[in-house]
Subunit: 103 residues, 2 copies
DNA sequence: TCCACGTGTAAGAAAAAGCTTACATGTGAT
DNA sequence: ATCACATGTAAGCTTTTTCTTACACGTGGA
């Protein structure tokens, strides 16, 4: 597992809102506006969290044009499986580029 | 898995410094001051990160009195094993108390 | 035309996290 | 006594994250 991707996944999941989002989308697709209502959070806020989750490949998005012609974005949890132990983390660390920007 | 503890573990691991700390302590105990030097970070900073990791039960600490009588704190990665999938997260969510303080 | 509903995004406030510097204690060796 | 090394912790700055409000566009139906 790549260090940067692991970090992206963990920091994305290490947030209560995003944990709930992933849980809600486990095996069930839903469109953004409706999801925001279900979770009781604003749509811009959900949009922000979804970006983080998509960037970490934990959630996939599909922009569909409904029969009525309206654009609707469906999101769903990606089928990820991360096994975390001190050892798996240690193996990922060498590929962690992070380090403050070397300008 | 308990929701709050899972969140604590994920938010603790979702940080480059702490990921390195856990990796460095995988199967190898070390005392704080020396660890700070190895990682190239200040001791107060390491102290702060260790607190977070201990609180999440990802690292264990042992305060020992060395032969010479000096107090030395040894830390080590706890033998944790977290399996993360959309489903395991979904199962943990019901026990997530988080919610803004209900006063 | 205007409303309801979907999308995205920018700007700024508020809160949390990260980090440094400085101070405090205690021990053993010089 | 002073130095070297271990510990902890408080104060304050800086940066990032989180969240709200407000605006933009496009569609279908009354």
């Amino acid at each position: 597992m790549n260090g940067d991707r692991l970090l992206a996944a963990l920091s994305a999941l290490g947030n209560p809102q995003r944990m709930r989002i992933v849980a809600t989308l486990a095996g069930r697709r839903q469109y953004v506006s409706q999801l925001a209502r279900e979770l009781g959070i604003s749509r811009p806020l959900l949009h922000m969290h979804l970006q983080r989750l998509e960037a970490a490949d934990l959630v996939t998005a599909d922009l569909e044009i409904s029969d009525s012609g309206k654009a609707v974005k469906y999101v769903e949890a990606a089928p990820f499986a991360l096994h975390l132990t001190p050892e798996t983390i240690a193996r990922a660390i060498p590929t962690l580029t992070e380090q403050k920007e070397q300008k």
